[in-house]
Amino acid sequence: MAEHTASDQPLKKTPLNDVEKELGGKMVDFGGWELPVQFSGILEEHDAVRNRVGVFDVSHMGEVTVRGAQALELLQRTTCNDVTKLEDGRAHYNGLLYPNGGFVDDILIYKIADNDYFVVVNASNTEKDYEWLRDAAQGLDVDVQNVSANWAQLAVQGPEAERILQPLTEVPLPSIKYYRFAQGVIDGAQAIISRTGYTGEDGFELYVSPDEAPRILRRLNELGVKPCGLGARDTLRLEAKMALYGNDIDDTTTPLQADLAWIVKLEKGDFAGRDVLAREKQEGPPRKLVGFEMLDRGIGRHGYPIVEGSEEIGVVTSGTHSPTLKKAIGLAYLPLDKSAQGSEFTILNRGKETRARVVPTPFYKRAK
């Protein structure tokens, strides 16, 4: 697990911190936030989400509202996916990009209504994203607010999520399809109920007031929803090949390099990074993010170099033991001409050369 202990500042706490400690959470420093890495164990929590239902505290995520007559224009200019395609009550995955095509962040955009968008960003990027959008908004008729402190977020994930949550709300959950959301009351709390997640499983993300969140987490725990930590969140998202900012993508990687062509809509008009992406689309990106399996024993982990003789040709960005597949998997950047499925390559694992092979992704896909 990456450690972030550079600063001596006190750790930030989510509204669920006390309940998490009560429930046996093993707390760690995660980018300046005190969050549980696990409760009962990563494998057990992973299994609960794949087969039943688990709950994650993702209150550290940031929320930014973008409102006004030119809200759509601001989002179109600063991101690579086509925000005009969003209808009210729908959300999509998108990239907030620098002019060089690198990621400021990967984000979710919710369209509440015309001229009213709710943007969910990575915790450690919240301030940066907010300032980026606010600066880009200058001269436009749009109001950008960092409202992160107003929201707690619980991710209830797993095949039984709908069955467990339905008794707590009058909102008909089957009517909320994948990547759509509704606003309503859940367990007495006003909420945004969103059928989204970061696990590759069915489930909901509940945005509620920080005051209400602890009660809801306790209720879910009583109902048998397994409290899950960052450890299982990482194994689940990696099996589903969902990118992690700071590991798999950052300001040096473009969406095309990160194998996210599906969020790049060149035809939508001009936006930051479009020229670079158009060129990469034409010529092929210099490198590509691929999924791999280990052929030798051991796990290729974040930061391990990929070598060819004495030359470093790539790098592992994420790696773990896949609890579902029961083998070592990971993501890595390889030169485009070496990234084909079936290609084999060498990962330097603490000085030792170990072999790996490019495989199709996602590693895990749930049965519909």
Binding site: M1, G41, R350
Partner: protein, 131 residues
């Protein structure tokens, strides 16, 4: 706090040695397995390897991290726990029993005295977890 067997000695890197005659059985402590979380792979030396105290004897991968294992004592590896190949989780479920890692024919039994007793180790991990 889980119990720390009194008939073992402990290294600062959290390996234990259980000595019987000239044979020392080495594994990692209950505290260490809890810190690592779910163990998925243990790499151990070949039988016949000669280790000095402090040498790396192998590595242990949990879901979340990889850690080196160090031999607290010198000697020849006379047995490795083959069961860990298929069931690395034994390190989690029974660290002092079925989750043992290697047996060493000790070169110098007095090395044991350099290691921490269970009481000293308990004090040591209390300090470490409080930091």
């Amino acid at each position: 706090m889980s119990s720390i067997p009194e008939d073992n000695r402990y290294a600062k890197s959290h390996e234990y040695v259980h000595a019987e005659g000239e044979v020392g059985t080495i594994g990692i402590s209950d505290y260490a397995q809890k810190e690592l979380g779910d163990v998925v792979f243990v790499e151990l030396p070949q039988v016949g390897s000669i280790l000095d105290a402090g040498d790396e004897l192998g590595s242990i991968e949990s879901v979340k991290a990889v850690s080196e294992l160090f031999s607290p004592i010198s000697g020849e590896v006379i047995e490795v726990n083959e069961a860990l190949t298929d069931k690395p989780e034994l390190v989690n479920t029974d660290p002092y029993g079925d989750g043992w890692m290697i047996r060493i024919r000790m070169k110098d039994a007095t090395e044991i005295d350099e290691l921490m007793t269970s009481e000293e180790y308990e004090e040591y991990i209390e300090k470490e977890s409080a930091h």
